[in-house]
Amino acid sequence: METVIELAGVVKSFGRSRALDHLDLTVRCGEVHGFLGPNGAGKTTTIRVLLGLLRRDGGEARLLGGDPWRDAAALHRRLAYVPGEVNLWPNLTGGEVIDLLGALRGGLDRARRSQLVERFELDPTKRCRAYSKGNRQKVALVAALAADVELYLLDEPSSGLDPLVAATFQDVVRERRQAGKTILLSSHILSEVEALCDRLTIIRAGRAVESGTFAELRHLTRTTVSVETARPIGSIAGLPGVHGLSLDGSRAQFGVDPGGLNGVLQHLVGCGVQSLTSSQPTLEEIFMRHYEDGAAVPAAAGALVASR
């Protein structure tokens, strides 16, 4: 199977507010797919539509080759889910919840269950009422990741985890990926997505604004160059692709479009480069660029998604 998740033009409204506005999302088999967006962008709604908990108002949706609404229960045997807000039965223990959810999914891997409980340092004898947010999250993570399924849907899975446990979580996700599993990871923690994901989709106001590999997305942004030269840098501002030049004596900092890099470097060599740092745009920068200027995004987004 080539694609595990295929959403095309999915619409979901709650009353008058439109949570998903012609959303497109493609997740390929065997990849870790980042699903990135600010609060309220529609990440959780998308996952609930994929789980058949919410009924889409329009558009096409395929999940593991089936219809997520019609074939919900049958499809769910092949996936595991960590909800964004983990609500557990207050009078059951964490261990009981893990076994219950595992049994309802058709069994879980006992060895991996105990191994994960240990790695996440979870006390399974406590009642869910007594767990902190991070510990409730661990219960949901163990319940999902101990299942031997094809697809994992993780909705902001590391929220509330401390950095050590978050690192353990990343290790486990990598192991699952190496085992050939597909993972959809919704998040607004950029470093996590950067560390784990093969491809990503950025969602804003219910629409996918960008989608692709990291290389493809970096392609869309400028490289930041800081340089110190022996001779004055001169007329660099006039070169094609250079933006936002700030000059301070012999030091300069500016952004360069990918197409303008070669010309800029040739110019700099003539000025006697003494030190130079160039930085790739981080995901933060991509992210900020798409959420800071509200009006420009949808038009650009349409073009980007269409060109993909």
Binding site: T44, R48, L51, G52, L53, L54, R55, A72, A73, A74, H76, R77, L79, A80, Y81, P83, E85, V86, N87, L88, W89, P90, N91, L92, T93, G95, E96, I98, D99, L100, L101, G102, A103, L104, R105, G106, P124, T125, K126, R127, R129, A130, A140, A143, L153
Partner: protein, 562 residues
Amino acid sequence: MSAPAAVLTTVTRPGRRDAADPASRFAGLHRLLRLALRRDRITLPAWILGITGLMAAFTAMCVSGMHSCTDVIRQTAFFGSSPALRILGVPSGASVGGYTLLRGYLTLAVLAALMSIMAVVRHTRQGEETGRAELVGAAVVGRHSALGAALVVTATADVLLAGLVGLAMMVNGQPVAGSLAAGIAVGGVGLVFGGVAAVTAQLSSSTRSAIGLATAVLGIACLLSGLGNMLGTVTDGGLQVHSAWPAWASPVGWGEQIRPFGDTIWWPVVLFAALFAGLAGLAGILESQRDGGRGLIAERRGRAEAGRWLPGLSGLALRLQRGSLLGWAIGMLGFGVVFGAISGQIRGAQGAALQWYTRMGGSDHIVAAYLTSMLEMAGMGVALFVVQSLLRIRSEEAQGHLESLLATGTSRHRWALSHLLSTLLGATVLMLVFAVSMGLAAGPVLGVPAHLLGELIPAGLVQLAGIAVIGGAVLAVTALTPRWATPLSWVACVSFIVLGPLFGASLGLPGWAQDISPFTHLPKAPAVAVSYLPIVAMVGAALALTGAGLGWFRRRSLSLPA
């Protein structure tokens, strides 16, 4: 490292000495009061108006049903001369107002108590369980402010309720003093159980068990007052009954001992106020002794792995209702033993009481008629359990637990059916507990052979057909309109009970109205031989409602928390 050690030696132990500044313990009270009023602006008025409206309806029906003084005397006398009916109240002379209270007081008092229990728990333990109290408590808010606000709001609601219930009787032409006394009898029970809930909210660490504990106390109070009334001394051919001591051990009984419209005694009003104050003070003391968010009854550790019974949907549904089922079973056991034990006194019933039993029980054999009416009463009680238990399908959805479940290989149908079946299983157990305990207690008293159990058990199971209809209705309503599921289910259940054989006929309701209740149609076993047509019809109705509910449930989006 020496500095902290020095500090430690000089620090005074907090906790018991925090009484130094009484004002600080109630800091922010007025703001929390306004918050509570804002949150309850629909809930409490709806409760108060609902109870008031019920009282107005009861009074109007009794006024229009009584055509002459002889009617009033006859009806009151047969009520007073029947031990089983005296569970509902004690006559203090013949009057329309007094007769209305005999019919309606217990229902109204229980509703007032439930209103108060839920209001107090909503503003105390529920806040702690959901973490809201933490958010609020981090502001300039005293240790007892939330409890204080809850009690002030609840007490105000009960005082209003007392006045309005009195007014509801007055506008129906009843004497002012008696009407006021009746209002106070109802509101007083509400007040006391607000205090009870304040204490149970300190004891247990969850909303559900705080409400459950307080409701259990309410059940015991009802049992005590009923027992006291049954064992009371009857004079004037049933027009006057003076209750035995157990009635005085129960706040529900105090309301009856005020004897509105008769030789009204006002001083039990002081008992209400004193007990409320005592319970509020006790709750305050307990609150100073415990950590925020915890209950005094400590949480035990549990199993690290699911036991053999839990995995699976039915296991989960049974596990979730385990505590409440146990409480109900103890209650049914208690009522069964008491009602069975007094069955011997029924034989002595004569005149009007004899007629009533024979009409309601459908047999001129008085004991069989009595046992039938008791089973009908138990069936209606179990219907309340069924609504309470099945509404969990709503709360599981609203609290988001359902999201994790349906993300597994569980279908909506299997999940909903697991709750329906485990609830009906629980209802079956409860009816069996009642039938068996009543039979075992009645056997030696009546001196009848052991075949009594053989009659009572199938007769008790007959009630399940009517109960199943209510179960199906709850499922259908939850599927169709989740937001209104809880109020609609309770209204439907209470209507079926009021329209049913226990109240409908004696309130003089028209036949078509009585026919709405499934209980009206059930065969009156064991007094009358079981006919299967009505049972098949009821089971058919239950299946139709369930089918419709499952169909609707499959078609809608879940209403999950954000």
